[in-house]
Amino acid sequence: MARFRLRPATALVLACVGLYVAAAAQVRSGRGTALSLAFDAVSTPPLALVAALSSLWDDVTSGRHDLKTTLGDVRDLRREVAELRQSNQLLAAELAAMRQGSRLLAGLPTLSENASVAQVVARDLFVTHTMVLDRGARHGVALDAPVLGETGVLGRVDRVYGASCRVQLLTHPAAAAAARPVGFDAEGLLEGGDQPRLTGLPPYTEVSAETAVVTTGSEGIYPPGLLLGVTGESHTEGLFTSVKVILAARPAEAIVVAILPAGRGQP
């Protein structure tokens, strides 16, 4: 056990300090003794510091709680905004589809009675040159049914599933349709592909550019009079005249299409 031994000099110093404190306790002024004044002077700053630190800690705690609440609100609002944005996008897409479908049906007054409107679900314009619609056998869609876009013929149904169908676009290399330029009696065959062209026209047939090309219905698929596209440059190859055709329908922009009943052509 450690023993504390007070040295005489230390004891003397402590005694002097004690005497000074005792003297301070004896001296009285207007507001109290000198000792109480000194104690107040010494203790006030630490107490004020402790009070300030306590207040600061309360503020920090309150601020952290508020920050947590605010961050939670911000998170909820962001999620809500994202949901609203997604909903807005869906509504905008639906509105665009409805507008397009409305324009489509308005442009086909004679065919709209038996036509059914379908929405494009998927499309592959570069490899298979097809698009998938959300209507199938369950909705009365049959094979070889013509499919029209807002600005013209898109193609025909080449595969039918229960709730969907696949459309072979006119840009498909195997696509073909009986057609003629407007103002001509001669009929040709519109061959699909990357550069569709109207072949089989009589030799040296002069077809001016920008002439509309419409279906004739001879192949038994497309009804007559449907716009396929406009003519481009023409030239005679052997016994027939070939005319480049710029297709009117734009599969990339098609959202809603019209499916006509199959077999309405005139074979």
Binding site: L12, A15, C16, L19, Y20, A23, A24, V27, A34
Partner: protein, 167 residues
């Protein structure tokens, strides 16, 4: 023991000087400080300081002022006097004169500083400090003269002269 007796005697003398207004200037004299100075020959500096503390407290009590500053001042004066006397090896009249002046001066200055630092009103100002230093120093001078006279009185030389005269 002789130091204690001397301290008691000095306290009584100081009390008498302050009570009986034979000559008002003598009231400032502090004989107890001379006891502190005298103890510096025999005691260690710490003990001298303790004795100075007691003497200062006695002075505070006799003067009826705030008790404490006088004790601290007495301790400081005792420690200073003891160190100075040991440092310069003061002897004879110089011991009493320098010791009493130093004790009175340092004690009064420290007391005045402590009292002022406490915010109390001192019972005397610089003039009183000068009076205390002067009267205490004068008393030290008297003690030194008395010591010299006593040393002459009891010296073997004087005894031999008296013996020669009587023959």
């Amino acid at each position: 023991m002789s130091v204690a007796l001397g301290l008691v005697a000095a306290v009584l003398v100081q009390f008498a000087l302050q009570s009986v207004h034979v000559w008002s200037a003598l009231a400032a004299c502090q004989p107890v400080l001379l006891v502190v100075v005298a103890s510096a020959r025999r005691l260690r500096p710490t003990s001298v300081a303790w004795l100075g503390l007691g003497a200062g407290l006695a002075t505070d009590l006799l003067a009826g002022r705030v008790i404490g500053p006088g004790g601290v001042a007495g301790a400081a004066a005792g420690a200073l006097v003891a160190h100075v006397i040991r440092k310069f090896e003061l002897e004879g009249p110089l011991f009493w004169i320098v010791g009493s002046l130093l004790a009175a001066t340092s004690g009064e200055v420290v007391w005045l500083a402590l009292t002022t630092s406490l915010g109390a009103q001192p019972d005397h100002g610089p003039i009183g400090v000068l009076a205390a230093v002067a009267t205490t120093g004068m008393l030290g001078l008297l003690v030194a003269a008395a010591e010299r006279a006593w040393a002459w009185w009891i010296s073997p030389e004087r005894r031999r002269r008296r013996g020669l005269r009587s023959r």
